[in-house]
């Protein structure tokens, strides 16, 4: 296995050199959204960043995709650099952007609503437990998006979203159909509400899905053609 840490660092530098403006835009959006709305959690921001930017170079048109495929670095190095961007850099960007969002909200509240400067500023509105929970909950979805972006050649993000919707509709239909067979007509409760799984199974399924899609992504990067 050809693994050179300097090449991985150079790949990361190159990625940031190419997409720094996009990342800066993403940071500003996260700061803005976290300042003025509580509708979106940390996981949502991560999911969206992964959807748009993971394996970005491989998701470009073939005219650009050639560059990353022929760039002298091994498949595992290209994979690890993409992993770093999606699973380490993006969560860090989000975690660092949220306090800036809090400061922004505080400043706006002072300017518009007359809030006094002396009032306490809560830089990070989530507890560590909440943060960990949100990140762990979204982890399998991010891994699916990560795989989707290397699997598809064009408009990977859109295709993944549609795949998600199709998969969700399929599961719900199967769920409803099985319940109909078991309980008969007139029951509108789904199977998932009927069965109580132990807490740990949730983690097993979540980490299992994540590991599976990360592995598939590595296989796919090796087979990626122009």
């Amino acid at each position: 296995m050809e693994l050179n840490i300097n090449r991985i660092i150079n790949l990361i530098k190159r990625d940031i050199g190419i997409y720094w403006l996009n990342y800066l835009g993403a940071i500003l959006i996260v700061i803005f959204l976290s300042a003025f709305t509580s509708n979106f959690g940390l996981g949502f921001y991560w999911f969206i960043l992964a959807l748009i930017f993971s394996f970005k170079e491989y998701n470009n048109p073939s005219k650009l995709r050639i560059q990353i495929i022929t760039l002298p670095a091994s498949n595992i190095e290209k994979y690890l650099y993409s992993f770093f961007i999606t699973f380490i850099l993006f969560p860090l960007i989000i975690l660092l952007s949220v306090p800036f969002g809090s400061v922004l909200r505080y400043l706006v509240e002072m300017a518009i609503m007359g809030k006094e400067f002396s009032q306490a500023l809560n830089l990070f509105p989530y507890t560590w437990a909440e943060t960990a929970y949100q990140i762990l909950t979204i982890l399998p979805f991010v891994s699916i998006v990560f795989f989707g972006n290397i699997y598809f050649n064009k408009k990977g993000g859109l295709k993944i979203l549609l795949s998600f919707i199709a998969f969700f509709l399929f599961v719900v239909s199967i769920d409803a159909f099985i319940l109909y067979l078991i309980r008969g007509e007139g029951n509108n409760l789904y199977i998932t509400n009927q069965i109580q799984f132990p807490e740990y199974t949730k983690y097993i399924v979540s980490y299992g899905i994540t590991a599976f899609f990360l592995f598939l992504s590595y296989l796919r990067i090796k087979e990626k053609e122009v």
């Binding site: 530098k13 005219k63 670095a73 091994s74």
Partner: protein, 282 residues
């Protein structure tokens, strides 16, 4: 340098683009890959570069299997695609971010090549340049990597007339015994006095693979006002100065290879020329 055996490739089932090609490409030459449009030249080049994977058969390039994309292989090959795009960045940044991956890259050579192409502003935004200028920057970068194999797909497309001459000059300057260049084109006049070996692709296969010397030792290229008295003519065409013709070179006469005439002759008289060139290769 490049060894290909029984290579097959198709984009769709039952529609072969490359069908059972076997080929040996020697190092230290500038090979011209010629063929009509849509014949599979680009596909063959992409297979050699590891950008596409064959359905069956073997390819060995510089001792590597291209589809494995080993670092050593990627450091020693440079592929210029006919259709390419660039990121929004300056020439300077492009070099800074990409050159670190090529251990033999010479920044001095790169800027010298750029000067020869008359590109002086290093701070120019790559994406704002014309297609031809972008191509010159990428060619200069490719040559400065000192890769042992340069694969150039239609490199002169989009270049103006002076740039084509500059391109020929720069390629010849960059050439040495360890370098091999494969240039695919359907504009054979652009490669005049540049290539020293010719590969001609026909429907899904290689029709001719011979050096210029081999060709001119077997075939004679001439021009005469009246060709009615000349024996063994394989192909001729009207020209302002008379009739250009290709004939079998039984008398061991010396002549200069006219690539375009040769290309037309091959497609006019495929089997005969193929058999002349394959017999007793000198």
């Amino acid at each position: 340098m490049i060894e290909i055996n029984n290579l097959k490739f198709s984009y769709k089932r039952n529609k072969m683009v490359i069908d059972d090609i076997s080929l040996n490409i020697k190092k230290g030459y500038i090979h011209g890959l010629l063929g009509k449009n849509g014949i599979g030249k680009t596909t063959l080049l992409k297979l050699m570069s590891g950008l596409l994977f064959p359905n069956s058969g073997d390819i060995e390039v510089l001792g590597y299997t291209p589809m494995q994309r080993k670092v050593g292989f990627l450091q020693d090959i440079f592929f210029l695609s006919e259709e390419f795009d660039v990121y929004k960045m300056t020439i300077e940044n492009y070099v800074k971010l990409n050159s670190v991956f090529y251990p033999k890259f010479s920044e001095t050579d790169f800027y010298n090549y750029l000067e020869e192409f008359e590109i002086t502003d290093r701070k120019s935004k790559l994406n704002a340049l014309s297609f031809g200028t972008k191509k010159k920057v990428i060619i200069a970068f490719g040559l400065a990597t000192h890769a042992r194999l340069m694969i150039l797909d239609e490199p002169t497309n989009g270049l103006d007339i002076p740039s084509k001459a500059q391109f020929r000059k720069i390629i010849l300057k960059a050439m040495n015994d360890e370098t091999t260049i494969i240039i695919s084109t359907h504009q054979v006049r652009d490669l005049h006095n540049l290539i020293d070996s010719i590969l001609i692709m026909d429907e899904r296969n290689i029709l001719i693979n011979a050096s210029n010397r081999e060709i001119t030792s077997k075939l004679f290229f001439g021009v005469e006002k009246d060709i009615s008295t000349i024996d063994n003519i394989l192909y001729s065409e009207d020209n302002i100065g008379g009739n250009l013709f290709v004939k079998e070179n039984r008398e061991n006469l010396e002549s200069n290879l006219d690539i375009e005439l040769f290309f037309n002759a091959v497609f006019h008289n495929k089997e005969k020329i193929k058999s002349i060139l394959s017999n007793n290769n000198k």
